[in-house]
């Protein structure tokens, strides 16, 4: 990104401040180029890429049941011991989680639970606004996980957004799919 324009100039260049002028030229070009910052949270919101590891979500099958078979592998592999799973047997005779709690305050979003899961149930999604004013609120339950946003299929863009006062001042995307491609405004090196 950063380009240095300090080539060795002769004494003529030294007298006419070629180095200072090239610095001025660079800043002038920046001054006239587009700004690249996100106007988060009340105007724009960044949609992360699919590889982003954010707030977890739970996949469901066609009947609307959670995929999780409560094998507890995720809670075993979790390096910070933040997943609590208590299994039970439902009326169909399937093993399902009665309790599936994730303590987001302890989670380090490593994604090992996603790797360990044999039933394609627990995933890390696109949601990254998890700040709140009360620590117990950071323990999310099974229904929160089912309702959490999925992985963003079309990540890497900026969406129109507004500040949501009801949802603890979080930013809510207002535009639909689409949005502008942020990367096209980044100055690329020659």
């Amino acid at each position: 990104m950063a380009r240095t324009l300090t080539e060795k100039k002769g004494w003529i260049g030294r007298i006419f401040f070629a180095d200072l002028l090239s610095g001025l030229r660079l800043t002038l070009r920046y001054m006239l180029s587009r700004t690249i910052t996100h106007r988060y949270p009340d105007h724009e919101k960044w949609v992360p890429y699919e590889r982003h590891r954010g707030h977890h979500f739970m996949k469901t099958n066609d009947e609307g049941e959670v995929n999780c078979v409560a094998c507890e592998l995720c809670s075993q592999i979790c390096p910070c011991d933040c997943i609590t799973v208590i299994p039970f047997e439902n009326e169909k005779g399937d093993r399902r989680p009665a309790v599936f709690d994730i303590n987001l305050a302890r989670c380090l979003y490593c994604g090992l639970c996603e790797d360990a899961c044999p039933a394609d149930a627990i995933k890390l999604g696109q949601e990254y606004e998890v700040a709140c004013d009360d620590r117990p609120k950071l323990v999310v339950h099974l229904d929160d996980l089912v309702a959490a946003p999925r992985k963003a299929g079309d990540g890497g863009r900026l969406q129109a957004a507004r500040l949501d006062k009801d949802r603890q001042q979080r930013s809510t995307a207002t535009g639909g799919a689409g949005g502008r491609d942020w990367w096209q405004y980044i100055r690329k090196g020659k």
Partner: protein, 328 residues
């Protein structure tokens, strides 16, 4: 009644100039923040008003409502005096700055300046030199190490740079055969002084940057090593007076650069009145100062002294010598 009628234009001019100068820092802080932001590829203030245009008002309200803190060990009287002493010279300077040709208002000729002095240029250089007393008093009265260091640096810098600054305008005075600013401008009707005095302009511009204590010569208030320099201990309204003085010095230097080297209001396109053209040129120089500020790093102290004494002073003397020989 007669005396009142002769005084009236003067009073109106004074009111306009003081009012404009007092309000000028508001748009200038906005401009500076926007330029800083855009050089760093961010939008700058955007939330208060359209593109943050009301941001300076919010800043002013914040500064005016803040606690006016005076350190316990400070010299209270000098501490209170310093911002005013810093603020008066930039205001005084504008009494001698012409804004255009005299205009006809109701049959009387009104010069677009407060006082058409014979020695306007000398007056400006002398009065702007007083401004450093505000800095000295502020540093001394604060009873703080940072403030004293900042004002010490500022004194050394002022002494070093006022000399080349004074010498650099001698070429202009020689060309115009006058120290009267409107005559200097009139002498540039055909050819702007920048063509005849490029070295003089360079010395004046660099020394002006140092006089205004702006980057790359802002050692008196180097944030990195001095906190905030001589106004470290100031807060609230007194701090804003220092900021006001700083911006006014910038505007004053921009105006001087235009008057002395860029033809003042000469060469206005036909659709622009002279004063507007002059103010546009001044605005360009203000923008230039801000552009410099966010491009260059700060010079080291010994480099500052080297530039002042070993580069600018010989250059300005040489400039006088060469222009004198050429004029013979």
């Amino acid at each position: 009644m007669e005396t009142f009628l002769t005084l009236l234009p003067m009073l109106v001019k004074m009111a306009v100039i003081v009012g404009v100068l007092l309000l000028l820092p508001l748009p200038l802080t906005w401009l500076e923040r926007k330029i800083a932001a855009h050089i760093q590829q961010r939008p700058g203030p955007m939330r208060v008003g359209w593109h943050g245009l009301l941001q300076p008002v919010a800043d002013a309200v914040k500064l005016l409502t803040k606690e006016d803190h005076i350190p316990a060990e400070a010299d209270r009287r000098l501490f209170a005096m310093a911002p005013v002493v810093a603020l008066v010279p930039p205001f005084l300077v504008f009494t001698a700055i012409p804004f255009g040709e005299p205009v006809e208002v109701f049959g009387t000729e009104v010069p677009l300046m407060l006082s058409d002095m014979n020695v306007g240029l000398l007056f400006i250089l002398a009065v702007s030199g007083i401004g450093v007393f505000g800095t000295i008093l502020a540093g001394w009265a604060s009873n703080s190490k940072y403030a004293v260091l900042g004002s010490l640096r500022s004194i050394a810098q002022m002494i070093s740079y006022e000399i080349p600054m004074g010498f650099s305008v001698i070429g202009v005075v020689m060309l115009a055969n006058s120290m009267n600013l409107s005559q200097i401008v009139a002498a540039q009707q055909g050819l702007w002084n920048i063509v005849l005095q490029p070295v003089g302009f360079f010395v004046f511009f660099v020394a002006g940057l140092a006089e205004a204590q702006r980057i790359p010569f802002d050692l008196p208030e180097a944030e990195g090593d001095l906190g905030a320099g001589y106004h470290t201990e100031y807060s609230g309204i007194r701090f804003s007076l220092f900021m006001l003085a700083e911006y006014l010095v910038v505007v004053m230097l921009a105006a001087l650069n235009v008057l002395l080297f860029f033809g003042g209001w000469n060469g206005a396109p036909f659709f622009l009145p002279d004063p507007v053209w002059f103010l546009l040129k001044t605005g360009f120089f203000v923008w230039l100062f801000m552009w410099f500020r966010f491009t260059f790093p700060r010079y080291r102290y010994d480099q500052l002294m080297t530039i002042g004494w070993k580069v600018l002073l010989p250059l300005s003397l040489l400039n006088i010598l060469v222009s004198g020989i050429l004029m013979l």
